[in-house]
């Protein structure tokens, strides 16, 4: 389905296809590609009912571009009446009594959700191997990971099963799988998309966003997702830009900062070459390249792997076997109920982060770890503030390598954490960033990351769209799938 959302919307309006047909196609394609293990729950009944409603709206010629467009939600967004697992045994049978704001928003514009996408458990992971429901496979090479934590979302879009998917990004969980799967992934500014009903991992970093084939498609979806929500205390009450109109602006005069730290040691040569070629393309489009430095970049991973586990240990305290979720059998005491329920319900990586976070917040270590990490967080944010005094966006590779093999890093948490080296700083600073397909290395997709100042999503989407008008990397699809 290398067709754009706008083209699909036009076909729907011209009655060349119905929302029901489009939805049926997506469901069939998902079933044919079951080997990818990208879906946790397929909601064909709900999807076909929603498609019928969309067809009625289309018959009256009302609604936005997304009416009748099939998609999937990452299984971290609560869906009323449809189980929401967060890829954890803890929530394997959890059926939320309410919808997340993002779910309401996309249902409100009558996009058609066909189900819930696989992910790393509680969004903790960079390979989608930490799922209670099993690893997701990369559509470009079934022996490789799709990235994580929004790996199911990325694989479904890359395989052409749906034109877009929702995702969340706490340390790179939209951008890294988008890069590994050769699609476009947008992490908006922290606070731009409501976190209400989005199961919490690290609340000061968690951010909902979109994975799609192109920046133009992302612009249509972000338009529906962005905005203030009184139910999320950290949601920002700032006007939402017209992302679609901004796409067409020429790039002449755009100043692109090339951060030397993002192209240094640890970045595969093949990735570096693709990124350099993409930067040349940007020069052809009228942009100017500016050499910049983000001096504290190397501290982003250490700061992230203190702050995120600390917040996770606090957020995940709610899973106690009492109110909802998994409960161990025959608890002998309240203590036994808590400890055994949690040990059974959480996978190894989630338990590891809970323990690290508990330690970092415990008496005697709080100042040395958590408070120090928060001070470093300000240094990292200040690096970006300084850089944006002279440049409009910052560019670099999204990931240091192409998609790695299943099992290659799963036994070594530190090697896995290093996969986030170029993405976590953006979350610490709360900035928007996009990963867009920029070429191939070793036959696998490479992502270019663009970072912008807070609330400049329109600038990012514009810069990515202009690149995609001049290149066709985003239109390339893996062989042998839908």
């Amino acid at each position: 389905m290398s067709v754009s959302i706008a083209q699909l919307a036009q076909a729907l309006r011209e009655r060349k296809i119905s929302a029901t047909d489009l939805t049926r196609q997506a469901i069939d394609a998902a079933q044919q590609c079951a080997d990818l293990n990208a879906l946790i729950t397929l909601d064909d009944t709900g999807a076909l009912a929603a498609a019928e409603r969309a067809d009625r709206a289309l018959a009256k010629n009302v609604g936005s571009t997304l009416v009748g467009i099939p998609f999937v939600h990452k299984d971290i967004f609560c869906t009323k009446g449809i189980r929401t697992t967060c890829a954890s045994r803890m929530l394997a049978d959890f059926v939320p009594p309410y919808d997340a704001s993002v779910v309401e928003q996309l249902a409100g514009v009558q996009a058609v959700s066909i189900g819930k996408a696989n992910m790393d458990e509680f969004a903790m992971g960079s390979s989608n191997e930490n799922s209670f429901f099993g690893a997701v496979k990369n559509p470009w090479d079934a022996a490789r990971v799709p990235g994580g934590s929004s790996g199911g979302s990325a694989a479904l879009v890359a395989a052409g099963i749906v034109p877009f998917a929702t995702g969340t990004d706490t340390g790179g969980s939209i951008r890294q799988p988008a890069a590994f799967c050769g699609i476009t992934g947008l992490k908006p500014t922290y606070g731009r998309v409501s976190r209400f009903g989005m199961i919490a991992y690290a609340s000061s970093l968690d951010c909902g966003g979109v994975l799609a084939r192109s920046a133009e498609d992302c612009a249509h979806v972000l338009t529906a997702m962005a905005g203030h929500d009184a139910r999320d205390a950290t949601s920002t009450n700032a006007p939402v830009d017209d992302y679609v109109s901004a796409l067409t602006k020429p790039l002449a005069g755009l100043r692109i900062g090339v951060a030397r730290e993002y192209l240094g040691a640890g970045i595969d040569a093949g990735i570096g070459a693709v990124v350099q070629a993409a930067l040349k393309q940007y020069e052809k489009l009228g942009a100017t390249l500016v050499d910049i430095s983000l001096p504290n970049a190397a501290l982003a991973i250490p700061a992230y792997y203190v702050i995120a586990p600390a917040e996770a240990s606090s957020n995940l305290a709610r899973y106690d076997g009492v109110r909802y979720g998994h409960r161990c059998t025959d608890p002998t005491s309240l203590e036994d109920l808590y400890t055994r329920t949690r040990a059974e319900g959480f996978g190894a990586e989630v338990q590891r982060r809970i323990l690290v976070g508990t330690y970092a917040l415990s008496a005697g270590y709080y100042d040395a770890y958590y408070l120090r990490a928060q001070r470093v967080r300000r240094l990292i944010a200040s690096d970006f503030t300084d850089a944006f005094k002279t440049v409009d966006v910052i560019a670099g590779p999204t990931t240091p390598t192409v998609a790695f093999k299943l099992g290659e890093k799963s036994a070594d948490p530190l090697a896995m954490y290093a996969a986030d080296v170029n993405t976590v700083a953006v979350n610490l600073a709360g900035l928007p960033a996009i990963s867009l397909p920029a070429g191939f290395s070793e036959g696998l997709p490479v992502g270019l990351q663009l970072i912008a100042p807070a609330f400049a999503e329109a600038r990012l989407l514009n810069a990515a769209h202009q690149f995609q008008l001049a290149t066709d990397w985003h239109a390339r699809m893996p062989e042998g799938v839908a």
Partner: protein, 95 residues
């Protein structure tokens, strides 16, 4: 600062995670690896730098002091592994 089996036992207790005695040593090893990463923070110059908790240093919104939630006790209790008479049930705390 290195984590040993006793420290793992202590933080597992704080985190309410059951950890078997035979797993303590391997978990200690893993946590020491992660903390070695965190120890890189010690090199940062952070004197006089205020901690950053919210990326935009945003303060909370004010709203009217009024009830905004409806009573959905039944819907929420229906999710509980064990509930009766409007209450969550847990093992006896007092004998």
């Amino acid at each position: 600062m290195s984590i040993d089996a006793a420290t793992v036992r202590h933080i597992a207790r704080l985190a309410r995670l059951a950890v078997g005695e035979n797993a303590l040593a391997s978990i200690a090893g893993e946590l020491n690896g992660v903390l070695a990463l965190a120890d890189q923070l010690a090199a940062a110059q952070v004197d006089g730098i205020a901690p950053l908790a919210h990326p935009h240093d945003q303060t909370l919104h004010w709203r009217a002091d009024a009830v905004t939630e409806s009573d959905r006790a039944d819907a929420f209790l229906a999710l509980a592994p064990e509930a009766r008479g409007g209450l969550y049930l847990v093992p006896k705390v007092l004998e």
